[in-house]
């Protein structure tokens, strides 16, 4: 279909739908005056039921834990798909040298960049670890902490260059983190069934309110998610950055 026809059809669809959107937008509850009951019920009963103070983590890992299990495996599936696509097409001959584009000047890394990256990347990884561990008391959790740790890995790449970065991280370790995290989550769901409870029932001791180690089984699922997200994003960065490397045949030219 021609681009112009496509936009014209889109405009037509927009004109037909605009009254419907107007009607829906004015019929929704006013902004700031929600009328649903589930959220306030979670806020009211959650701290006493699960002894955690971060209700978003409680919803994610306990009250709606099966949804998060599904999201976790969606993450695993998408990352596996991307890695398979990239590795399958790339082949096995690669070096650590960057691919050279003719006529494009190569600018080395500035010393200040290397210094800042060396100072900040361990700090950021530590901060990500702190965020992932304090899931039950302060804003944070496995998802956020995992992505922050992965961005710390990126800063390491900026500071060390590709060759140094590959020496630090190994692809099997990241793959083990990712798969191990998802496996930990699934086992945390299955283990209570072995003890006679329901799937992902919170059978561990719940701990005291406002303590870092409160929440019971939520800590295990949170750890699983954090490992999986860290490993997954690290693998994605690794596979994408490998695409910009020269092949063996170009390297010896």
């Amino acid at each position: 279909m021609n681009r112009r026809w496509r936009i014209a059809l889109l405009g037509l669809a927009g004109i037909c739908l605009t009254p419907a959107i107007w009607r829906v937008a004015t019929a929704l509850p006013r902004f700031g005056e929600p009328s649903e009951q589930y959220g306030p019920a979670v806020n009211r009963l959650g701290p006493a039921l699960r002894h955690v103070s971060n209700m978003v983590s409680a919803v994610n890992f306990d009250f709606r834990g099966i949804d998060t299990l599904g999201e976790e495996f969606m993450l695993l599936g998408a990352i596996t798909g991307a890695v398979v696509l990239l590795r399958g097409a790339r082949g096995e001959d690669l070096t650590a040298k960057a691919a050279r584009l003719p006529g494009r000047q190569v600018i080395g890394r500035a010393e200040s960049t290397i210094l800042i990256c060396r100072l900040f990347s361990p700090a950021i990884m530590l901060f990500g670890l702190y965020m992932a561990l304090h899931a039950m008391v302060t804003p944070g959790g496995g998802f956020q902490g995992g992505v922050v740790i992965a961005s710390g890995l990126l800063l390491t790449y900026l500071g060390e260059g590709y060759r140094g970065w590959r020496r630090l991280i190994a692809s099997p370790v990241l793959a083990a983190l990712e798969g191990g995290g998802a496996l930990l989550f699934a086992l945390a769901g299955l283990a209570p069934m072995a003890a006679g409870g329901a799937f992902m029932q919170n059978v561990l001791p719940l701990g005291t309110f406002r303590d870092v180690f409160s929440g019971g089984l939520m800590l295990v699922t949170n750890a699983g998610v954090g490992l999986a997200v860290t490993g997954g994003f690290g693998m994605l960065f690794l596979e994408f950055l490998e695409e910009t490397r020269a092949t063996q045949s170009e390297d010896t030219r």
Binding site: I7, V24, G39, V42, P47, E71, A78, A82, L85, V137
Partner: protein
């Protein structure tokens, strides 16, 4: 102000769809897709907001203070991370298309046909 968030979300979605339909570069298309995704985040979080309420984290204030809805926040937060990995999968596919055809314009791409080995 009472209906601004709904219209902001609708606008973001509409402009994202327009970007996808009128895109001349597959990578630009994926960026517009992420704008569509962000419209759902804005809508969900605005549904849960309550005037004068605090965050649903009862570490500094005692449980029982008025807080916003934590369920939609849980939905959006996992969605953001998973959406980024789906974007990565789409980018990997675009990379293969760019390699095979040397061309990233959606108009100029043709379906795969059996072609003689070059």
């Amino acid at each position: 102000m009472t209906v601004l968030p709904w219209f902001a979300a609708a606008w973001l979605f509409a402009i994202g769809i327009y970007g996808i339909a009128s895109s001349r570069n597959l990578i630009h298309l994926i960026g517009c897709l992420s704008v569509c995704q962000s419209s759902t985040y804005v809508l969900l979080l605005s549904v849960g907001y309550r005037w004068g309420a605090a965050a649903p984290i009862f570490y500094d204030h005692p449980p029982g203070t008025m807080a916003v809805d934590p369920v939609v926040q849980a939905l959006v937060l996992t969605d953001i991370v998973v959406g980024a990995t789906v974007t990565a999968l789409l980018l990997a596919m675009v990379l293969q298309v760019g390699r095979k055809y040397g061309e990233l314009d959606p108009q100029k791409l043709r379906p795969l046909v059996a072609r003689a080995h070059r």
